[in-house]
């Protein structure tokens, strides 16, 4: 896979969230949270249920618009942004409850991740010849690489609605990878999986990070997985940032221990 934007070097800040607050009516989902994601790292966002983790991801890819604060991605600061624009800038994501296109095959699902990269004219699309077909084959080759990488060759033409949950999660990861994102957001990629499936998924996440150099932000509840996978962890609780640092630092943080285990009052 080739990368187009190499302006940001590994280790530099790719995305910065600066004092973001988000509320729905009177409910404050996120209050004054700041953190950054550096290029090439695996960044985990953890916290108890309702801490605002998924809301944070929704803010990052433009689905929610925060009332306060700003987000800087690849050096560009933005206020309000449509999700399709965020996608065009290079942010891809997977969902907590799988959001695949159920009526389409695995292949078509991953191919639809290439939509933004395809631009053959409507006229050629009508004929399905010439430039349209050449483009289709070019992207099919790319998608086949992803299918190989995720070891899902056997289910290429199966409608995803018929696949077991673990495989659906894998196809969803494939669809996000097909977008060649600079930043990949994974919302609980291992929820509801057994140990073996979790190991497979962890392996894929590490491989994506090392082979393709994709920056990853992930939400996960399995602390073992989070501590092993991630380079840095940010902890949220009740929409506020509790701690931020390497897994070891976070593990030793007294407020994090309190939040997770509870304290005697």
């Amino acid at each position: 896979m080739t990368r187009t934007s190499q302006s940001i070097q590994k280790g530099e800040v790719l995305l910065a969230v600066d004092q973001v607050s988000l509320s729905f009516g009177g409910v404050k989902a996120i209050t004054d949270v700041s953190f950054d994601i550096r290029k090439g790292e695996i960044r985990a966002i953890i916290g108890p249920n309702g801490a605002g983790k998924t809301s944070m991801l929704n803010v990052i890819n433009g689905f929610y618009h925060p009332q306060q604060g700003k987000i800087t991605f690849k050096g560009q600061t933005r206020s309000k942004m449509r999700p399709s624009v965020a996608a065009a800038q290079g942010i891809a994501r997977t969902f907590q409850n799988v959001a695949l296109f159920k009526g389409m095959s695995t292949l078509d699902n991953i191919m639809s991740g290439r939509t933004l990269k395809m631009n053959s004219h409507f006229f050629w699309q009508c004929l399905r010849h010439g430039p349209a077909m050449a483009e289709e084959i070019r992207h099919r080759e790319f998608v086949e690489d992803i299918i190989d990488f995720l070891e899902i060759q056997a289910i290429r033409k199966v409608p995803v609605g018929k696949l077991p949950y673990g495989l659906q999660k894998r196809v969803e990861l494939g669809r996000a990878l097909a977008m060649e994102p600079d930043l990949l957001l994974l919302d609980e990629p291992m929820a509801g999986m057994n140990l073996e499936e979790k190991e497979d998924m962890s392996r894929f996440i590490i491989d994506v990070n090392t082979q393709y150099g994709t920056t990853i932000a992930l939400i996960e509840h399995d602390m073992g997985v989070v501590m092993d996978l991630s380079d840095r962890v940010v902890v949220l609780e009740y929409g506020r940032k509790l701690a931020d640092g390497t897994p070891d630092e976070v593990k030793a943080d007294q407020s994090v221990i309190d939040a997770y285990l509870g304290v005697a009052h």
């Binding site: 399709s84 296109f101 939509t115 699309q125 399905r128 669809r175």
Partner: protein, 359 residues
């Protein structure tokens, strides 16, 4: 036994992405085309052409149109009849203003007018979905039908208030008007349907079809992948209405040979085509043909087929019996296979592939 893909290896992606990857399917399509283009016009009776094939082809085209919108993009529309009307009236105006231009050109061009109107009435689809969108498209149905009867300019101030189809030729042969032979009308219609089906299938197999289905299956995920919802939905409305418009123009000029909007493009027509799409199979090209065949051919077959089998029927009884039979068959098929005849066809093909083993 004879329907196997065994031994048919694909060595490149183009082969694998073909619309009909299995050889037997390609032979089947070729056979159907030969029958439709050669055998039916040569051997078919006037009755077969005028009462079975021509209505079937017109409805197939309209069903493909609605299937693109409802089956592939997941937007329900009850305005198909009106969009067909836009095509018919556009074609009528164009051919009276420029009679020297070939009528087939105008039939196709009429589709673009319909596409434009479809886009206008598709604008609410970004905000509303499901049944509410169906109600919004009802507005198109009533408003446009009102225009067809109340704006005399549209029907050239005829005293009859209806479209009057004049004499038009193609390659020196009459294709519209009272002197046009059935064979000529059938061949023009068949060519239109064949070419437009091929185009629709191409579109649905590529990027555009995938983005339509993505919007249908999970619009939030589609948007987060960079698919612009408004543009995609409006494109679906445009393509769908284009097909409806061409079908409407073809209906007036190649089938009815003239008529009034309140008869041809009313709400019943919209419902009829929606039923064809649902019974045929949502999101399936071949399903559109199945549905059109089922609903347009079945009453004719029952009406004329039963007496031919020796079951005598009086006029009124025949009509009532047809309604009863068609109604119960629709219910029967929907209970057997809620996903339509196309799914039954698919299951049948799958069984044939594995035969004699059950799986």
């Amino acid at each position: 036994m004879f329907y196997r893909e065994t031994g048919q290896f694909k060595t490149n992606y183009a082969g694998d992405m073909a619309v009909f990857p299995i050889l037997q399917d390609r032979i089947g399509i070729a056979l159907i085309l030969v029958v439709a283009f050669v055998l039916i016009p040569l051997l078919g009776s006037d009755f077969l052409l005028s009462s079975v094939m021509i209505p079937f082809l017109v409805f197939s085209l309209a069903s493909i149109g609605l299937n693109i919108l409802t089956g592939y993009t997941g937007l329900i529309s009850l305005g198909t009849g009106a969009f067909m009307g836009v095509g018919a009236y556009a074609c009528y105006k164009l051919t009276t203003l420029f009679p020297e231009v070939n009528i087939v050109v105008w039939i196709v061009t009429a589709g673009f007018f319909s596409a434009f109107v479809g886009v206008l009435f598709g604008l609410p689809s970004l905000r509303i979905k499901g049944f509410y969108l169906a109600v919004a498209t009802l507005a198109a149905q009533f408003f446009l039908q009102w225009c067809f009867t109340r704006i005399p300019w549209l029907y050239n101030y005829n005293t009859s208030g209806a479209i009057e189809v004049g004499q038009r030729t193609l390659f020196g042969m009459n294709v519209t008007g009272p002197k046009a032979s059935l064979e000529a009308r059938y061949m023009v219609l068949l060519t239109l349907v064949t070419v437009l089906t091929w185009v629709a299938s191409n579109l649905m197999h590529g990027r555009i079809g995938r983005s339509f289905m993505a919007v249908r299956d999970m619009d939030i995920a589609a948007e987060l992948m960079g698919i612009d919802l408004l543009k995609t939905k409006l494109l679906a409305f445009a393509v769908s209405s284009f097909y409806a418009g061409v079908a409407g123009a073809a209906m007036m000029f190649l089938w009815y040979g003239g008529g009034e909007a309140n008869d041809a493009f009313n709400i019943n027509q919209s419902f009829l085509i929606l039923f064809m799409v649902i019974i045929g199979g949502l999101g399936s090209m071949i399903g559109s043909f199945f549905g059109a065949a089922f609903i347009s051919m079945l009453p004719t077959m029952l009406k004329f087929g039963l007496p031919a089998l020796g079951i005598p029927l009086a006029g009124a009884t025949a009509e009532h019996l047809t309604y009863i039979l068609v109604g119960s068959l629709i219910i029967f098929f929907l209970i057997v296979e809620p996903h339509g005849l196309a799914r039954l066809w698919q299951i049948g093909k799958q069984k044939l592939r594995m035969w004699p083993f059950p799986y």
